[in-house]
């Protein structure tokens, strides 16, 4: 029975994991420090006690963790593996890209890898270069891998359950700066939705902003400033990056004629480039040249003022939107 509870993002993830473990006996939950310690961010707290051996701690061996997930998934288990930081997935990329993504295709569907990788990314002050990267584009370049990026407590709950139920290998990229955020009303226990879709956060006629991840909050702040001056903006939060809701983006840009893509990941080769390219290829009539706001192609420094100088800020989004709307504003 669906009910409404007040949860922050961490609590919503915990509730989703508990429901998956409860309703799908084939699920396993494991990773570094997830069981007895309850996870470094506490999101899996209490689950080992409640579900026993199906929730377990592992050695610091990302390749073994993900390889084991591929193998177990092909035999009917539904592993949910926590990779503590997305940066750590790089030591095990073989198991994601060469193995999990290939299982179904190269076997011609004789087997599959219905596994979920829960990880988190993003820049937080002082996190240092190897704990700050936004790497979704690496995954989106790999056909065969589904990618979700929830931000709100409700999406953190819903998308994780959709990912676990999905028969493709799916990476759910959370953001640690959001785990302990404010509680919000979350509907739990409702139907598990299929993967895909976007969130229409604002509706407007003058421009389209396509955004994903924690930076969405900065986009909303910037958009609200412009709204106060009479500029109305469509804001599409792409909570699913694969599958990507191209129709929604094309439809919106077709109406507004202006596109801004915002992501915290590096500009060059970022998925924003793909969005802009698809819009260009579509031939949709544009009133001004598309723009991107992204990490200014750089490593991420530790010192907060240095990181802030490189990462997208509200003012950057606002400035980009102003010049976007000024372009072709006849």
């Amino acid at each position: 029975m669906p009910e409404i509870v007040k949860l922050n993002v961490g609590g919503a993830v915990n509730a989703a994991l508990a429901r998956a473990l409860e309703e799908m006996p084939e699920t396993l939950l494991y990773g570094e420090d997830v069981a007895k310690p309850g996870g470094v961010f506490g999101v899996s707290r209490g689950l080992h006690k409640r579900f026993g051996d199906r929730v377990f701690d592992t050695p610091i061996s990302e390749t073994a963790m993900l390889g084991a997930a591929v193998g177990a998934a092909s035999f009917g288990r539904r592993p949910i593996v926590e990779i503590m930081w997305i940066d750590f997935s790089l030591v095990a990329f073989d198991q994601i890209v060469n193995q999990a993504a290939n299982v179904r295709y190269v076997s011609a569907g004789r087997t599959g890898a219905p596994l979920t990788i829960r990880t988190q990314q993003g820049s937080a002050p002082g996190s240092c270069a190897q704990h700050s990267q936004n790497l979704e584009a690496l995954l989106l370049h790999v056909p065969g891998i589904r990618v979700a990026m929830p931000r709100t407590p409700q999406d953190s709950y819903d998308l994780l359950l959709s990912a676990v139920a999905c028969d493709d290998p799916t990476v759910v990229i959370e953001n640690r700066t959001l785990y302990a955020g404010p509680k919000d009303a979350v509907e739990v226990g409702g139907p598990v939705r299929p993967i895909g879709g976007h969130r229409q956060l604002r509706s407007g006629a003058d421009a389209t902003v396509v955004v994903w991840g924690a930076v969405t909050t900065k986009v909303l702040d910037a958009v609200d400033r412009l709204e106060a001056e009479g500029t109305s903006v469509d804001v599409l939060e792409m909570v699913w990056l694969n599958p990507f809701d191209w129709d929604a983006v094309l439809d919106s840009v077709g109406r507004t004629g202006r596109l801004l893509v915002v992501h915290e990941a590096a500009r060059t080769g970022g998925f924003g480039a793909e969005v802009v390219a698809r819009i260009a290829e579509s031939g949709v009539a544009l009133r001004s040249a598309p723009r991107r706001v992204a990490l200014d192609d750089s490593r991420i420094p530790s010192a907060p003022q240095l990181a802030a100088a490189l990462l997208p800020q509200t003012a950057d989004v606002e400035s980009a939107l102003r010049s976007l709307v000024a372009g072709g504003a006849e």
Binding site: G67, V70, G71, S74, F75, N102, Y105
Partner: protein, 312 residues
């Protein structure tokens, strides 16, 4: 029994030689790695497995597939891009799988199958199947982190995995002894708390015994074992390998050691009629010729299906 073994090894040898012919004439394209000279390890190890068990091999895995009972026609068809191939041509020589025969795939990334095998055993712990997993890899894979991680993971959780290292002395084109300070590779397993044994891989009985004990131990919940089987490949790393790395006289010695020559000598010495021994090779070659001919006559997989099976 010994004649059965000889036939089983000849089936693999004849399949590999037929694949070589098809590759050289251009019917099969791309990178192909043959297992000539290593047949005994696959035949003996697979003889100790049950249908429920899962084998994870490498790109040198054709012989393991045959030993698991994958029909040769479907293997040829796979390498020929035919719709009748085990994976309709999506897997190919180095990446085909046939889970319905307990053959869970080759792998072209050295060492990558080991952690996946650990997962198969992990699933076996929860699904009540009693499944154990066997993963085979070469000496070169011992220098991959994936194998070290997989062995420790299996040991830490007492998972039913049999790690089989086919030590054919070469990590692709480079002698393994040049790439390690400790040539006894089995000591890596011992160091992780995994019972390990080194056997003469050309001796079917030794491989059988080692595998049987490993399988029994895994099935009893006592965790993983490691078998280092010393063997030799009597062909190149891949078809076209110039093999300039081989010292003079090595191949001649290996041709004496390799398991088909060895078992043939044994059988003849035991008084088995020459015709009975020769019939194993003839029969295997006839089977493989027929399987390849049938596969060649099968239709190519339709290009319109190229994107099928990418997602569920």
């Amino acid at each position: 029994m010994k004649l059965d073994d000889l036939l089983a090894m000849w089936r693999i040898r004849a399949l590999e030689e037929k694949i070589r012919d098809l590759r050289l004439e251009g019917s099969i394209v791309g990178s192909v790695h043959l297992s000539n000279g290593q047949e005994s390890v696959a035949v003996a190890a697979c003889s100790q497995l049950r249908p429920v068990d899962a084998v994870y091999a490498t790109y040198r895995g054709h012989g393991w597939a045959v030993a698991r009972g994958v029909p040769p026609r479907e293997i040829f068809a796979e390498l020929l891009g035919r719709v009748t191939g085990v994976n309709g041509g999506r897997g190919g020589s180095a990446h085909f799988s046939a889970p319905q025969h307990g053959f869970h795939g080759e792998n072209s990334i050295v060492g990558a199958g080991a952690p996946i095998a650990v997962g198969a055993a992990l699933a076996g712990r929860f699904d009540g199947s009693g499944r154990i997993a066997l993963t085979v890899f070469g000496d070169g894979a011992m220098n991959q982190g994936a194998v070290a991680e997989a062995m420790n993971f299996a040991a830490a959780f007492s998972l039913g995995v049999v790690f089989v290292c086919e030590n054919n002395r070469y990590s692709e084109l480079t002698p393994i002894d040049d790439m390690v300070a400790q040539p006894d590779l089995s000591r890596r397993a011992t160091a992780l708390g995994i019972p390990a044994v080194r056997v003469d891989g050309n001796d079917l009985a030794q491989v059988r015994t080692a595998t049987r004990l490993a399988v029994e131990s895994a099935a009893a919940g006592r965790g993983p074992s490691f078998v280092e089987a010393h063997t030799q490949r009597i062909v190149g790393h891949y078809i076209g390998d110039a093999e300039q790395y081989r010292p003079a006289g090595e191949l001649e010695r290996d041709l004496e050691l390799e398991p088909i020559a060895r078992l043939t000598r044994e059988l003849l010495a035991e008084g088995v009629p020459t015709e009975a021994v020769a019939r194993c090779e003839e029969r295997a070659r006839a089977e493989m010729d027929a399987a390849a001919d049938a596969a060649l006559a099968d239709p190519l997989t339709d290009p319109a299906t190229a994107k099928d099976h990418l997602y569920a």
